[in-house]
């Protein structure tokens, strides 16, 4: 059963109809590329797949479960298994490390988070607190949860690893607002990757990257596929789609005009407009 599946999705904003009858799916260990001209609805589709918007009609299913039929908390639990990278990188105004760690942080229980926040803010850790209790003559009354304090780091290992994957390991302490566009894009990718999601939704993740950094990201996508993650990749770069995608869906005017194995779509597209598009001729 497909990890991520959309069937007969229809969606529009107040005064604009965007998507009609979109049916597609991505399985675990599969990369699905979404290609199509600018403004055709790729981003909108990814927003629907990552449960930002509720479809006007049709279903979004994770592992076969219609998510919008689930109660809210269930849906939240499902949503935590997804990772999404936006086209406009949108980093939080904090450090690179905290950005990369964000997804991990919000997945932790509140008590943990608060204790860790306090620890970082007040500069407290186990040793210090034990000393404090000892000074107060209450060494034996140290609460049991104290030992958990030191386990944590300001930036967890998983976040550091994700940053290393995109070549930004050295920049953990830099402010995110000081990054170049390409650097920010890589951090945003690391942020989605760090919690090790079951599915990755990538909206043109290499749009601001040079060939070498593009290759880094593409390698990471390949690794993700090998770790049995389902990847949906919206891209305007035909070559990239060819390189990394197992299957391709071609969008035009908010609907899928062609869908299939990558080679087939590029070599022998069934739809004429799809052929025009992949050959770069389509005029609209």
């Amino acid at each position: 059963m497909a990890m991520l599946a959309a069937s007969d999705l229809t969606f529009g904003y107040e005064d604009a109809h965007i998507l009609s009858d979109v049916t597609l799916s991505a399985d675990r260990g599969e990369v699905l590329a979404i290609i199509g001209p600018s403004g055709t609805g790729k981003t909108t589709l990814l927003r629907l797949l990552s449960l930002f918007e509720r479809p006007d009609a049709g279903t979004v299913a994770l592992d076969g479960e219609d998510v919008w039929a689930l109660p809210a908390e269930e849906r939240l639990a499902r949503r935590k298994r997804l990772g999404m990278v936006f086209q406009d990188r949108s980093l939080f105004s904090t450090t690179v490390g905290a950005n990369a760690a964000y997804g991990l942080t919000v997945r932790r229980p509140w008590r943990d988070r608060m204790s860790s926040w306090l620890r970082v803010r007040l500069g407290l850790d186990e040793t210090r607190l034990r000393e404090l209790f000892a000074t107060l003559g209450m060494a034996e009354r140290v609460p049991p949860w104290l030992s958990r304090l030191t386990v944590e780091q300001t930036v967890p290992d998983a976040a550091r690893e994700a940053l290393a994957t995109v070549g930004m390991a050295e920049r953990v302490d830099q402010r995110a607002s000081e990054l170049s566009a390409g650097e920010a894009q890589r951090v945003a990718f690391a942020r989605a990757l760090a919690p090790d999601p079951d599915a990755l939704l990538l909206d043109e993740p290499t749009s601001n990257l040079d060939p070498r950094n593009t290759a880094l990201i593409e390698d990471a996508v390949g690794d993700a596929r090998d770790r049995d993650i389902a990847v949906v990749l919206a891209t305007h770069d035909m070559d990239q789609a060819r390189r990394v995608a197992d299957r391709v869906a071609v969008f035009l005017d908010g609907t899928v005009i062609e869908q299939g194995a990558t080679d087939r779509v590029f070599e022998a597209p069934g739809d004429d407009r799809a052929r025009q598009f992949v050959e770069g001729e389509l005029v609209y």
Binding site: G83, F86, S90, F92, S93, V106, A192
Partner: protein
């Protein structure tokens, strides 16, 4: 040369600059230091408590408003904004009618206590904190909310992140609320009663007298300079609180 010496005292600035030390002298003769301290303590206790509570309520309300769309939202926002123009005397009167012996909450005997003053200052600070926070929260880019949501954040996480991003504005909101609370006189006068007692040590001591209400007494007496000197002390306290706010703001920048 002689003329220059003669003309100096005629400088128009002279009379406005000279009186400054005089009221301060008067202040210290009239207000013993322990009394002054007790008045300042009541001022800070009431306003800081009220602002702390109003901040929690206000920011939560701002988040609730900033994160939902509903048909009457504009009307609710207008009502909250209007609340910033709530005359403190009226708030005082309303709280008085509630807490007075013949009022619905009369049995709690809260009238003429600091708690009553805190209640009315909460009412005054709340709309200011809500409105200004709301405008800061609405100013946070949608894409940042989306990013928090996309990273698996619950509604609460997203709100927390938005408050973090809007911290500059939220702190301004809190400081504006504090300014409103610490500077107002109408309601604390009515529900607090501006009471000072002469304690056992024969010292005057504030029970529900704040710096602002002490200033009104001076104004009533025509002791304008003493009033202004008390005002300067109040501003010095407020400056301290604001400097703290500024420090938090700056640390938050990191």
């Amino acid at each position: 040369m002689d003329t220059a010496v003669v003309s100096l005292p005629a400088l128009p600035l002279g009379p406005t600059l000279v009186p400054l030390p005089v009221p301060l002298q008067g202040l210290l003769s009239e207000f013993s230091l322990p009394y002054l301290f007790s008045v300042a303590r009541v001022t800070l206790e009431v306003s800081l408590t009220a602002v702390a509570i109003a901040t929690v309520l206000g920011v939560l309300t701002a988040l609730a408003l900033g994160f939902t769309e509903f048909p009457g939202k504009g009307v609710v926002e207008t009502v909250v904004n209007t609340g910033m123009g709530f005359p403190s005397v009226v708030v005082g009167l309303a709280v008085l009618l509630l807490l007075s012996n013949s009022g619905p909450l009369g049995t709690f005997e809260l009238l003429f206590t600091r708690r009553a003053m805190i209640v009315s200052q909460i009412v005054l600070a709340f709309p200011v904190i809500t409105s200004v926070s709301l405008s800061a929260i609405e100013g946070v880019d949608q894409s940042l909310r989306d990013a928090a949501f996309a990273a698996g954040g619950t509604r609460r996480d997203v709100q927390l992140t938005v408050v973090r991003e809007a911290r500059y504005g939220v702190i301004t909101a809190v400081l504006a609320g504090f300014g409103r609370a610490v500077s107002e006189v109408g309601s604390v006068l009515i529900v607090g009663g501006n009471i000072a007692i002469i304690n056992e040590a024969g010292q005057r001591e504030s029970l529900t007298r704040t710096l602002t209400t002490a200033i009104t007494i001076e104004a009533r007496k025509g002791q304008y300079e003493t009033g202004i000197a008390l005002g300067v002390i109040l501003l010095a306290l407020a400056l301290g609180v604001n400097a703290l706010g500024g420090y938090v703001k700056q640390r938050g920048e990191r």
